[in-house]
């Protein structure tokens, strides 16, 4: 299916969840709770259609064709 991640077109497998979308974007494996398997903290948050989706819900949030996904992290700022 076709979606947008951070404003750019992306292709996800049918049946993909938000967790799959995040893992694909950041290149890290995530467990069921949405935490990275590398043992470090994740440091990203996800909004779908301007609503924050808590990490614990990523694995059971199905992505549908055309979904607009925003994945944010901390950058330098005063």
């Amino acid at each position: 299916m076709k979606v947008r991640i951070n404003g750019r077109p992306a292709v996800l497998d049918d049946g993909a969840t938000l967790r799959d979308a995040v893992a694909l974007t950041i290149g890290r494996e995530l467990d069921d709770a949405g935490n990275p398997r590398d043992g470090r903290r994740l440091g990203v948050a996800v909004a779908v259609d301007a609503d924050v989706v808590p990490r614990s819900n990523w694995g059971r949030t199905a992505v549908v064709d055309g979904t607009d996904i925003e994945i944010l992290t901390a950058v330098q700022g005063g």
Partner: protein
Amino acid sequence: MHTATEGTAPTGLSVATDSAPGFAAHTAPVDPLVIDGVALGSRLIMGTGGAPSLDGLGAALQASGTELTTVAMRRYSPETGSSLFELLEDLGIRVLPNTAGCFTARDAVLTAELAREALGTDWVKLEVIADEETLLPDAVELLDATEQLVRRGFKVFAYTNDDPVLALRLEQVGAAAVMPLGAPIGTGLGVLNPHNIELIVSRASVPVVLDAGIGTASDAALAMELGCDAVLLATAVTRAQDPVRMAAAFRHAVAAGRLARGAGRIPKREHAQASSPMAGLAGAAG
């Protein structure tokens, strides 16, 4: 090289003097700043904005002695990943996410929620600006956003104008700290209205953090002498020619200003007042 340490900024926060051994006040560290039950050992809050490299930023943060630093929330990019978050974790510095770039309460609330989810903190530096030219806070949206965020359980550090009335209003709706600007963001003009800052301090019952406009160390010392509980700055360090050295300068300036405020300055006088006795001068009559 004049000395062995030239080129290396001093980083130790030592306000001790060798001349007064045994005088505890000289060797005691500056008292911690307590916000939301958290004690911060440094009263300098250094932002991460404006640094050309992450390595340089890390060195400056360490030299500043800060225990709290601001970050912005932006789209994840594969090139930089979460490298800033990881750096701050490695340095053990608490994160204060900001809502920079937000013009409305609605945008600021969404950004704060994203920051809480991403970074695991309910502290937020609330920044709701009116326009990109002045970057001045929009008082109406700021007050609205503060109320909304407090209701949602956030600890709001409200970046505000140097307006004593607005500062009180922000406190009344539940801000954890009020952060009046010294001068507009990035100007380095220092504390333009010391009278207003003093007035804000004198009436506040939450911590007052001087935020924005700081140019050099003496500006930060002045803010602390006026009674501010802390100083927040970023580009004054990150865009200085030698950020690590400037970070150390601010570390000392904030500590010095805090100590001076507590020590109680002498009153200003219109006329000179000798500190040496006139009696007993050589060759004097009598």
